[in-house]
């Protein structure tokens, strides 16, 4: 009787029940959203916004368009096969005169000079020597007389390439690529091709630091996870100690330790192990040592948490089943720490990729990583396009890595099973 009436009620209220559930859930969802809203807004303004801005800047190209509007319009339909027609010359002359009057010629000159070395001179000399708008029909001759570069096709293709509003120029530059006079993508001339090298260096340093952190951090994390609580807590304080000191201080401490008259060299000299000071700093060695020291906790903590979750019963079980300690470690313990190794390595690697202060302070000229060049372009040469493009390439590499890692971890979870 009661059962029959209750199932009847169920059937009648099935749809309203779903709606009621949704309503009940909605209140909770709104509350949850309200809780994360401040952080969301903060991130939007301080993180997502700037990154979007940076990505935009890496393809934004409106300087030439702004300064030389008529030239850009005149070149719009130019096929680039031959020199442009008289109209384009006239437009350029008119643009240059206008730009000189408004003082904006340097903006276009700077942008065009990135693409073609010496363009700054071409433009400023033309601006200086062009007294008045040439007679109709003589613009080509007049400009060619002021600077023969105007008779070159590449001068014009450079302007056309830079006429925006968007460009792949900066991104190509960041990968040591450029467009030749015919618009094909080719390798940049050797004197400008430094970025692949810098990216490779950045990845090599980051990889070395990650490997060092893993080698040094794994035993510490193991101790942390297996020691009795009291001693483990003490050790944990030592691991976390670096976080209480500023990054700058820690890096400078390494300078004190490693310089040629530093503590390490003096001790080695005094002990008679070496005859003259070793070069320990302002080279790759110093960079790796200092960065490893700074990043070590980021490796230890994820390792520790993954090891803490491994029951000691597994190792006992392995031993009781006949596995010697080394086999038990390799086949039972290590595979279960893989998520921790992955998380720690990814964290350290990504942090290392963007490292700036430490290599800048303890590295030599050949040890500067991509962030150094980004900072250089942003603050020194104000080449924001190239800075943004380098950042975008770095971001892309990092995102790809994170995606790969995500796939690996997902695979681990599917195959790894759960805790008992």
């Amino acid at each position: 009787m009661t059962a029959a009436s209750s199932t009847g009620a169920d059937a009648r209220t099935e749809v309203p029940l779903k709606r009621r559930l949704k309503r009940a859930e909605r209140a909770r969802q709104i509350r949850a959203l309200a809780l994360i809203l401040p952080l969301l807004l903060f991130l939007l303004f301080t993180f997502a916004g700037p990154i979007a801005g940076m990505l935009w800047r890496s393809v934004d190209d409106r300087e030439v368009r702004r300064v030389l509007p008529q030239t850009v319009a005149a070149l719009a339909n130019w096929d680039g096969k031959d020199l442009p027609d008289e109209k384009a010359y006239a437009a350029l002359a008119s643009d240059i005169l206008a730009a000189r009057a408004s003082g904006t010629i340097a903006i276009a000159a700077k942008r065009l000079n990135y693409a073609l070395n010496g363009f700054r001179t071409i433009l400023t000399s033309t601006a200086r020597n062009l007294k008045a708008e040439p007679e109709p029909g003589t613009a080509r001759e007049a400009l060619g007389k002021i600077n023969p570069a105007w008779r070159e096709r590449i001068t014009w293709t450079t302007i056309k390439d830079a006429s925006g509003p968007m460009t792949g120029f900066y991104l190509l530059s960041a990968l040591d690529l450029t467009r030749n006079v015919d618009g094909a993508i080719v390798a940049a001339p050797p004197d400008q091709a430094i970025y692949r090298n810098v990216f490779a260096r950045t990845f090599i340093i980051s990889l070395s630091v990650t490997a060092l952190c893993l080698i040094l951090g794994f035993p510490v994390a193991y101790l942390l996870a297996t020691l009795p609580a009291g001693r483990s807590n003490l050790l944990m304080i030592f691991v976390l100690l670096p976080f209480w000191t500023s990054l700058l201080v820690r890096t400078c401490a390494w300078i004190v330790l490693l310089q040629s008259k530093g503590v390490v060299n003096d001790s080695l000299l005094w002990l008679g192990i070496i005859d003259e000071p070793l070069r320990l700093i302002y080279n790759r060695f110093g960079v790796c040592v200092a960065m490893t020291h700074v990043l070590l906790p980021f490796m230890i903590l994820p390792l520790y948490s993954s090891m803490k979750a491994i029951s000691p019963a597994y190792m006992r079980a392995a031993a009781s089943l006949g596995a010697p300690p080394a086999t038990a470690f390799l086949r039972i313990y290590l595979p279960q720490t893989l998520p921790g190794i992955g998380a720690g390595s990814l964290l350290v690697f990504i942090l290392a990729l963007g490292y700036y202060i430490t290599p800048a302070l303890v590295g030599g000229a050949a040890d500067q990583m991509i962030s150094y060049f980004i900072a250089l372009y942003t603050t020194e040469t104000a080449n924001w396009g190239l800075a943004s493009a380098s950042g975008a390439v770095l971001l892309l590499a990092t995102v790809l890595l994170a995606l790969v890692y995500g796939k690996l971890v997902q695979g681990q979870q599917v195959t790894g099973g759960m805790k008992n």
Partner: protein, 369 residues
């Protein structure tokens, strides 16, 4: 107490004068001497902290005895690392390797012994057949139920034919029905495979169901080692009497001892005849132990004289399905249990005065608690 049995099989394991302390002050195991025979199912039974798990861990090799020696097949093994002892072990939480499949888990002890592929496959298959889980070979431990995981743990501990299998409260995490089913399965495995099993539990009914012999541990000392029925019928002291099965305790003083029997004056009044099992002599205080099913309730008015008749007051009755218990107040023990025959419960009213009676041979005079 083993009179009439066939000659005991030779000892496979011998604990000789074993002591164990963790902190250098308190002995967890005090002077343990214990023989485990080849092919027997022996249970180490005791409350937590009694030293039974420590004993097992010393046998497995995860703990080192502070003093004494353990012999496995006449070979001292105190300094043999666990992986060289050839002892299979089933852990409390199964300890199945979560990153390996069921088949890989079972193959693990074979692969660390470099067994060739074909034989490994064959034996894993046989082991899976034994636990009736052939279809789940490619699952991960996390995808199995507790009972299934337990079966896999068993198969893994048996697949390499160890000379000894240890089980550390393997059924503790299972619910009652499953536990009882697994008890029978383990017992069956033991009988068909002829292996030697050392089983640790704190559950006395589990120990009674499965064991050939039970070693009752308390305070780091083996109180008694015997067959389950002997432990139940002939406990040597109050601890064993109390730990194995239900038990009523009556405190008293020994008046006289006559051969196997003694007369005991109860603290709560009355005199009974009991078997003198563990009493030092006349005048000594003692605890009497009587099982609930060995007691009869007779009407107050029936005045047939006999030994061991004590006045009692009914407190209440407890219905337990297959039987019922009467809780009585007897000689100062307000929780004196009597097992009732079906239907007898209806005649008892709380507050009613009755008389309980039991045979002298069912009443054991033991050490005072």
């Amino acid at each position: 107490m083993e009179a009439g049995m066939v000659t005991p099989a030779p000892a496979l394991v011998r604990f000789s004068g074993i002591q164990k302390t963790y902190d250098g002050e308190f002995l967890v195991v005090k002077n343990l001497d214990l023989d485990i025979r080849r092919g027997e199912f022996i249970t180490l039974l005791g409350p937590s902290g009694s030293g039974k798990t420590t004993t097992l861990m010393m046998l497995a090799g995860f703990e080192v005895p502070t003093h004494g020696e353990i012999y496995l097949a006449d070979r001292p093994i105190k300094n043999v690392p666990p992986h060289k002892r050839d002892i299979g072990m089933v852990f409390q939480n199964y300890a199945l390797f979560p990153h390996l499949t069921i088949a890989e888990n079972i193959a693990f002890p074979l692969s660390v012994r470099n067994t060739n592929k074909a034989e490994t496959q064959e034996r894993v298959k046989a082991a899976l057949r034994m636990i009736k889980m052939e279809t789940l070979a490619q699952r991960r431990p996390g995808q199995l139920s507790g009972g299934q995981q337990q079966r896999v743990a068993l198969a893994r501990a048996l697949v390499f034919n160890p000379q000894l299998v240890l089980m550390d409260e393997p059924l503790g995490a299972l619910d009652k029905r499953l536990r009882e089913q697994m008890q029978l399965e383990i017992k069956q495995l033991h009988e068909t495979m002829g292996i030697t099993v050392v089983y640790v539990t704190h559950d006395q009914s589990e120990a009674l169901t499965m064991s050939d012999r039970i070693a009752v541990f308390n305070d780091g000392i083996v109180q008694q080692i015997d067959r389950p029925d002997a432990l139940y019928e002939h406990p040597v002291n109050s601890f064993v009497a109390h730990f194995i099965g239900e038990n009523n305790v009556l405190a008293g003083t020994v008046e006289t001892i006559e051969k196997e029997y003694c007369r005991v004056a109860l603290a709560g009044g009355g005199v009974v005849t009991a078997r003198a099992i563990n009493v030092s002599g006349a005048g000594a205080s003692t605890s009497l132990s009587v099982r609930p099913e060995r007691i009869a309730i007779v009407s107050d008015r029936t005045s047939s004289e006999g030994p061991n008749r004590l006045p009692a007051k009914v407190q209440n009755t407890i219905y337990l399905g297959d039987h019922a218990l009467a809780v009585l107040d007897v000689a100062g023990n307000r929780e004196f249990m009597v097992k009732l025959q079906p239907g007898a419960r209806d005649n008892l009213r709380p507050g009613e005065s009755v008389v309980v009676t039991f045979r002298p041979e069912d009443c054991l005079a033991l050490d005072p608690v």
